[in-house]
């Protein structure tokens, strides 16, 4: 794990949501955290560089932003990394995880609309040679607010 100091943690704790919507958001954040705008920008750049942050910006609502669905394929272990790489290359794929199940590769496919989504899935299915399990969201019961990071738990060996 990247070594994060107290300022990094306070940034993450305070700003997984409610980034100030103003001309100089990083200055506003710096003021609240008692540091400088340049320091905030530098920290965010470093966190992004170290892949602790995937980005600073909006999280769009999948259901409203376009079409998306959770998909899975069941792939023999010997084929796994090759198929995962092909999934990663496929346009519209964001998350792609290896999980403990016969359906072992789980990914989210996104597109501008349902038509493009299905076209992307069909193209991918053809390329992979495996059937893709399609699991669209029917209802969401949880609002994504960015959950608190359990820093203590992460430090326990």
């Amino acid at each position: 794990m990247a070594a994060l100091d107290s300022l990094d943690r306070r940034l993450i704790d305070a700003y997984q949501r409610d980034l100030p919507l103003c001309e100089r958001p990083f200055a506003a954040m710096a003021e609240r955290l008692g540091t400088s705008e340049a320091e905030v920008i530098e920290r965010l750049q470093a966190l992004q560089h170290d892949q602790v942050l995937s980005r600073v910006g909006p999280v769009f609502d999948h259901a409203r932003a376009g079409a998306s669905l959770l998909a899975a394929v069941a792939v023999p272990e010997a084929e796994r990394d090759r198929v995962a790489a092909a999934i990663n290359r496929s346009p519209g794929v964001n998350h792609n995880y290896l999980r403990e199940h016969d359906f072992n590769l789980w990914f989210v496919m996104t597109a501008a609309d349902e038509l493009q989504l299905e076209a992307r899935l069909e193209a991918l299915e053809e390329e992979l040679g495996y059937a893709v399990l399609r699991l669209p969201m029917v209802a969401a019961y949880h609002i994504d607010l960015g959950f608190p990071i359990p820093w203590d738990e992460l430090e326990t060996p």
């Binding site: 989210v108 019961y141 949880h142």
Partner: protein, 179 residues
């Protein structure tokens, strides 16, 4: 006179273009995140032919309308050391799934909770929730507590821990070309 008309036409065309093409362009840029500079909105504005204040108005509107769920730091939990990421799937009677979904969503350990269709015979599960933690034992202990609190001992379930993240980034919903 002719000059005036063509200027007016040009202005009208530019306005029509701005009303339709630019928000889409802005969204596409936003999916990749803010530039980390002093005036990030101005930098985006320059790239999509808007003013800084127009960009702020669009983002404020998308937040209000719910297109943007949250605006801030998007953390890669895996990189932080939160390696235990369990997708817990449940096979609930259709009549019970919404109620249980709401109960699970209210649990602090649950970070996402969705209903999805069954795909029989391969996939009988219709409720999905995510539990993140630093370690597997903690996640499983949290799950035990949830099962007990909501009387879910008899509901068939599977816990799919993630073993590896091949990819973790934001969605790409717009039709804009990737720069």
């Amino acid at each position: 006179m002719n000059g005036l008309i063509s200027t007016a036409t040009a202005t009208f065309t530019a306005t029509a273009f701005r009303a339709s093409a630019c928000p889409e362009r802005l969204r596409s840029l936003l999916e990749r995140g803010l530039p980390l500079t002093e005036r990030p909105w101005r930098a985006l504005a320059e790239q999509c032919g808007m003013s800084e204040s127009e960009v702020l108005v669009w983002v404020e509107r998308w937040q209000r309308e719910g297109l943007i769920k949250r605006l801030g730091l998007v953390v890669r939990h895996h990189a932080l050391g939160m390696r235990a990421n369990a997708m817990v799937v449940w096979d609930l009677p259709d009549a019970a799934v919404a109620e249980v979904g709401r109960q699970l969503a209210a649990e602090p350990a649950v970070t996402l909770c969705y209903r999805r269709p069954r795909r029989l015979p391969a996939w009988p599960y219709n409720l999905f929730c995510m539990i993140h933690g630093a370690r597997r034992e903690r996640v499983l202990a949290a799950l035990d507590g949830i099962v007990e609190r909501h009387d879910l001992q008899d509901v068939p379930r599977r816990v799919l821990f993630s073993l590896k993240a091949y990819k973790q980034c934001g969605g790409r919903y717009t039709r804009e070309k990737q720069p």
